[in-house]
């Protein structure tokens, strides 16, 4: 039995596999949130959205547990890419959005760790960290090496989650005054981030040979060749991540527009007040 899902040998089977480490992580995060929420004063709970945290946790669980994790660790690069997108582009921002402001403020004020967190969530730093993790963990040698062991596979998933949380911090802005990111910069930040994912995705799509030994040397599943699987994985990275980024950009732009419209007040007809 594996505590965390890593590469296996043998044919793909729909036989269920337990991953105890995943349950402990998801259960631990749920328990921590509940304790945090229960221990907070009503004023400290502002900004916290338990529903958002629960949905994020659910998506994290779906990404890390059987069957997606088993397919992604051994058989299909596409499944891995769906996992990565779920973890870094959906679970991370949703869970972050669910945390109460008071908790995050306390974290930011917590001495050295708080200073590191404050530095890591600055937009430029978060952008660089996120994309270093994106490119680094999808570098063939790195992915093949890490995916081969449970510890390595856990590290891959943990890096994706942490990098995702740092990246989304300036957008989700759980603590509104830090970093105080205006809409136009949020849009630019998100737009810039569509580029690295697109480059990596297109490299996978247009590669002549399978990039990852993990998936190339696994018994084929669902009649999909290793190269076709990699091409779909590249498309998932480009369009899956892109869909999230562009959707959020749309929401930000729409809210910005609405806010400015409200601030400008009701439109006055050009001939209003003109006498006859």
């Amino acid at each position: 039995m594996q505590w965390w899902c890593s590469a296996q040998s043998g044919y793909w089977s729909w036989a269920w596999q337990p991953y105890v480490g995943v349950w402990l992580l998801v259960g631990g995060l749920a328990l921590a949130y509940w304790l945090l929420w229960r221990g907070s004063e009503p004023g400290e709970r502002d900004g916290g959205e338990p529903g958002s945290f629960a949905l994020g946790l659910l998506l994290l669980w779906a990404a890390l547990d059987w069957p997606l994790a088993a397919l992604g660790a051994t058989y299909l690069a596409t499944a891995h890419m769906v996992q990565y997108t779920l973890i870094s582009m959906a679970a991370a921002p949703l869970m972050l959005r669910g945390l109460p402001d008071g908790t995050l403020r306390r974290a930011l004020d917590a001495g050295t760790a708080g200073r590191i967190l404050e530095a890591a969530t600055r937009p430029m730093v978060a952008f660089v960290l996120f994309n270093v993790v994106l490119v680094g963990t999808h570098w063939p040698v790195v992915l093949d090496t890490l995916m081969a062991t449970q510890v390595g596979s856990f590290a891959l998933d943990a890096l994706s989650l942490v990098a995702g949380a740092l990246f989304w911090w300036p957008i989700v802005s759980p603590v509104p005054e830090r970093p105080g990111f205006r809409e136009v910069w949020k849009l630019a930040y998100l737009f810039l981030n569509t580029i690295p994912g697109t480059i990596v995705g297109l490299m996978l799509v247009y590669a002549e040979y399978p990039a990852y030994a993990t998936y190339e040397l696994a018994p084929p599943v669902f009649g999909v060749s290793a190269l076709a699987d990699q091409q779909v994985a590249g498309l998932v990275m480009k369009f899956g991540g892109g869909l999230v980024l562009w959707s959020v950009m749309g929401v930000i732009f729409f809210r910005w527009y609405l806010r400015e419209s409200e601030e400008a007040g009701p439109a006055v007809p050009a001939d209003a007040g003109a006498g006859s």
């Binding site: 040998s9 044919y11 793909w12 089977s13 040979y209 030994a213 040397l217 290793a226």
Partner: protein, 249 residues
């Protein structure tokens, strides 16, 4: 290289240690290639005895030998005659195999499709079943078609196939009824067998072995070289043939 229930070139029951030693040496070299070969096709492994190829060059080339088994169309297939003047790739495996066989065949199939048509015509991939009880000819054909419709599937009795394998210095296939667990679609047993692809050059000699874990890029590069240059592609270790030719059927 993945863990496998089918130890490549495992010396088990009475395979004739002396006859196996040269192949064992080559297999060890080849395993080294796989172990450090995450970049498979991207880097040149050092284990190829300066041949420039990715497979392990056998210290002593062996004759192709004569054997005739039944092809998936029901006709007899004389391996030596049918592959004369071609690069012949021979693999022993079975269709219920959980790992090495589908991986080798899928990788070979993808590499084969990347070769230009004129080179494809100079390469013959032959799969010999080590599990004739379950591998009926239609099943064998259907399974191979997942990888390439050009691949040849052969079936003979277990004794015939084992004699052929031993003729090439490989240990005979062994049924293992203890193997079980998720991901193994067998009907109660697996078959232990050598998991290497044996490569015969157009001069009719076995000169190279490729382990499970050889990647598409490596296959494409090597098959191109072998199909274009023939025996000359295997430089530095193309010794005179030795050993007895197998005759299993």
């Amino acid at each position: 290289m993945r863990a496998s229930d089918e130890s490549p070139i495992a010396i088990r029951r009475g395979a004739g240690v002396r006859s196996v030693l040269p192949l064992l040496a080559a297999a060890l070299l080849a395993s080294g290639v796989a172990a450090c070969g995450d970049d498979g096709g991207r880097g040149r492994p050092s284990a190829s005895l300066d041949s420039g190829l990715h497979g392990a060059v056998l210290p002593e080339a062996r004759l192709k030998g004569d054997f005739t088994l039944t092809a998936t169309d029901g006709e007899p297939y004389d391996f030596r005659r049918e592959t004369e003047g071609e690069v012949a790739l021979l693999f022993f495996g079975y269709t219920h195999c959980p790992n090495a066989c589908p991986v080798q065949m899928a990788t070979l199939g993808a590499a084969y499709e990347k070769l230009p048509m004129e080179l494809q015509q100079r390469v013959e991939v032959v799969f010999v079943s080590t599990d004739p009880a379950r591998d009926t000819l239609p099943r064998l054909r259907s399974w191979l078609d997942n990888f390439s419709e050009s691949f040849v599937g052969l079936r003979g009795s277990r004794d015939q196939v084992n004699r052929i394998m031993q003729g090439y210095g490989l240990p005979p296939a062994q049924i293992d009824t203890t193997a079980s667990g998720p991901g193994e679609p067998g009907d109660g047993y697996t078959v232990g067998h050598a998991a290497h692809v044996l490569v015969f050059t157009p001069d009719g000699r076995l000169r190279l072995m490729y382990p499970t874990g050889t990647r598409q890029r490596a296959w494409v590069e090597d098959l191109r070289a072998l199909a274009r240059e023939g025996t000359a592609a295997v430089t530095g270790a193309a010794n005179a043939p030795s050993g007895s030719a197998p005759g299993g059927g």
